[in-house]
């Protein structure tokens, strides 16, 4: 999913999922229903129920709920930042809190929710238009906001100033909060935090970000107005709990319909999770990345493979999926190049070793190639210089080798300083698995020619 799509999904969670995957309780066979239930979980369309989140994030969740409740009911302004590494459930936490709040009429009828995302609202002008639009202020006609940036800002501030305790509370949720800190003068943040700290419309500002040092990005007067409430979310699951999550994701609820199928499926999952191979796969994934996101992408492929002919998830599926996720992209790319290009990569490797990591250029590379070809002329076809240059340029476009000085340089392409972006271990791996690799090449790779 691209960044923008993701940003859109985060900002308007209510719109996107409905359009993409409407839940269809009626149609389809059992397998279809299983697929749709499991996919909703794995693709993060469904927010897990409150009690599951509370297992790990009880305090954080309570802090957020209290904060928003106080803002809506008592009109107390507040600001907080939710931080945590990727995939630790920041957005999930916020959406779960919002869901609880929306279901509570006491709170929800006094609260307007404004969602902004740093990836979409890339400057203050757009952000302020978006706020005005979501607040449905009077200078909005349809979905279009009138007036210049300065007028919009003045209008918005005026509106927020006027309704001191008669106006509804406003909850601002700023996703990718660190990007807002890069706006000019941090005008938006200053004004939001300033309203928080003065007797105007009660607002709550909740920033969501990955960066642990986000407060250091704030200007000192903005920082002074921020109330320094940090809510930290970490991937703190221990391995047994992680395994438990995996089991829970795959276990089916009773409402699928076919009770016999559900029972058998759940038994299978139980068996699957105690399987030693699965344990190893999960352990390996866990050691790399503890986030639930990674687990979900690991499970996506096996879930997609469930069909009428293959009605259960097997350990092999998980192993395969883990292989897919853990594939080395550079090695995969090297598998697709020609023998000439492979010879060039080997020559580059020798040059890099010879000059201890210093860059080389095409002429040096061609020279190295010629030396090899002249000695082993009977096995490897010798190519003309233009052909080799073409092959080399192809490698550059694949970014297997990169110019040191960026793209703007005006040096002739034969003399540009280049560096190789493949480690020798990767190259050796590829040579061993490359289909029909001439043994001379393999030999050359491990034994550089005497110069």
């Amino acid at each position: 999913m691209s960044h923008l799509q993701e940003a859109f999904r985060k900002t308007f969670p209510a719109i996107m999922p409905k359009r993409n995957c409407r839940r269809e309780p009626l149609g389809g066979s059992t397998i279809d229903r299983v697929q749709s239930i499991l996919r909703r979980r794995v693709c993060r369309i469904e927010v897990p129920p409150k009690d599951i989140i509370e297992e790990n994030l009880k305090e954080q969740r309570q802090h957020l709920v209290d904060l928003i409740n106080r803002c809506a009911v008592r009109g107390e302004s507040n600001s907080a930042i939710v931080t945590g590494p990727h995939g630790s459930g920041k957005t999930m936490l916020v959406s779960s809190v919002l869901r609880e709040i929306e279901s509570n009429p006491k709170v929800s009828k006094n609260l307007l929710i404004i969602r902004l995302n740093g990836l979409l609202q890339t400057d203050d002008k757009i952000a302020i238009q978006e706020i005005t639009r979501q607040l449905q202020l009077d200078n909005v006609v349809g979905d279009k906001v009138f007036g210049s940036f300065a007028e919009n800002l003045a209008f918005l501030l005026e509106a927020l100033k006027r309704g001191s305790d008669t106006a509804q509370s406003v909850l601002f949720i700023l996703e990718e909060f660190d990007l807002f800190a890069h706006h000019k003068n941090q005008t938006l943040l200053y004004n939001l935090f300033d309203i928080c700290q003065s007797a105007q419309t009660p607002i709550a500002v909740i920033g969501v970000t990955r960066r642990l040092d986000v407060v250091e990005l704030l200007e000192k007067r903005v920082k002074s107005r921020f109330s320094h409430r940090h809510i930290h979310v970490f991937n703190s699951l221990a391995f047994p709990a992680y395994k438990e999550v995996c089991k829970r994701v795959l276990t089916l609820p009773a409402e699928v319909g076919d009770a016999k199928f559900v029972k058998r499926w759940n038994q299978d999952i139980e068996a699957l999770c105690s399987n030693a191979t699965v344990h190893d796969v999960l352990k390996k994934t866990y050691q790399l990345d503890k986030s639930i996101c990674r687990l979900q992408s690991l499970l996506l492929l096996p879930i997609c493979k469930v069909t009428e002919d293959h009605p259960a998830i097997e350990a092999v599926d998980l192993v395969e999926s883990s292989k897919h996720l853990g594939a080395d992209s550079k090695a995969a790319m090297l598998h697709g190049i020609s023998v000439l290009q492979l010879a060039l990569v080997i020559a580059m490797k020798h040059l890099t070793d010879l000059y201890e990591g210093d860059p080389f250029n095409f002429e040096m590379l061609y020279n190295e190639y010629l030396k090899f070809v002249q000695r082993k002329a009977h096995v490897v076809q010798s190519f003309e210089k233009p052909v080799v240059l073409k092959a080399f340029e192809h490698l550059v476009s694949l970014e297997i080798v990169k110019p040191v000085d960026g793209h703007g340089s005006r040096t002739q392409k034969e003399y540009r300083a280049m560096s190789l972006l493949v480690t020798s271990a990767q190259l050796m791996d590829v040579l061993n698995t490359y289909p029909g690799c001439p043994s001379e090449l393999k030999h050359w790779a491990s034994n550089p020619l005497p110069s």
Partner: protein, 401 residues
Amino acid sequence: TPRKDIVPHITERRTPCKTPAKVLEHARARLHVSAVPDSLPCREHEFDDIYTFVRSKILDGTGGCMYISGVPGTGKTATVTEVMSFLRKEVEEDEDFPEFTLVEINGMKLTEPHQAFVQILKNLTGQKATAEHASQLLEKYFTSAAGRKQPIVLLVDELDLLWTRKQGVLYSIFDWPSRPKARLIVLAIANTMDLPERIMMNRISSRLGLTRMTFQPYTFKQLQSIVQSRLEGLQAFEPDAIQLAARKVAAVSGDARRALDICRRATELAETTKPTGKSKGPLVGMKHVDAALTEMFSSPKIVAMRQASRHEQIFLRAIATEFKMSGLEEGSFEKVLIQHISICRLEGLHPPVVSEVAAVCSRLASCRLILLESGTNELKQRIRLNVSQDDVTYALRDHSE
């Protein structure tokens, strides 16, 4: 235009705000930064100075400038606003005291420095104009005092934001008071003390004059009395608890907002841990303030490193090892990768492929435990630690599974 008469407003509430009922709720409402008291404690001296300055200028019918500086949260804007409301009261009570107009602008609330003219004109006359036109109108307004009797007090907050290359806005603001008929008193507020010397041209800083005032950061005694004055008549805090918060904040920044925020957070914590209390109702104690302090001041980096996955921890150790070996504070991904793989071998782990390690690296960079050069040449990109090497060893010492 048809939009002229629109009064901006936000949808009204369905139910009014609840008023605080319990002691702690009262305390919290009073501790909120927005609940500015009628008279500011510990700023009497500054109040007097500004008051005498503005009052004498108004009574004399002359103009003048005053530059007020101080770090954020030391009560600059609050003191000035208090002076203004005091003068306003005087106008109502004392018939001899002349009426005056107050115009407030804030550099941070403008999209662009020249918008200051638009805002001033709008606040003075209610007219709407473009920045250029507004500047001309104001020029005329201040040179000819046609049919105008009242003195004007112009309060400019966040002055440094009004800086432009030619400094036209600053020049106008400080030039108007020197006009004989303007009767304009400018109070400019900013953070840095040497702002006039640093960013202004000579002809502007000379017009600004030497009437300056600096707000010192609050000492711990002052912070303590600020919090106490807000809590007057409420039995909510142990006195030692207030002192702890005050001392801690005074040691770091002397920002009153921070002290109030900490106390407010402490009341929240006290409320949630209430059931254990036995006797006379919930009281905010040392432990609550201490918890609030650690929550607000502590850095989460150590925890983040401890909670990182096994390979992320190994990668951090690999960086530390690489730095120790090379003696530099920066290393390329290629070098760290070699260390990473050798640590994996030492610990009996299967070393991951390069793409996986690169993913680990970018994850650590996204939460800023390490700093990564931007760009796509993954093997050559340079890595720095964003935490100290000692922190890495401390966090990961007894924590490798």
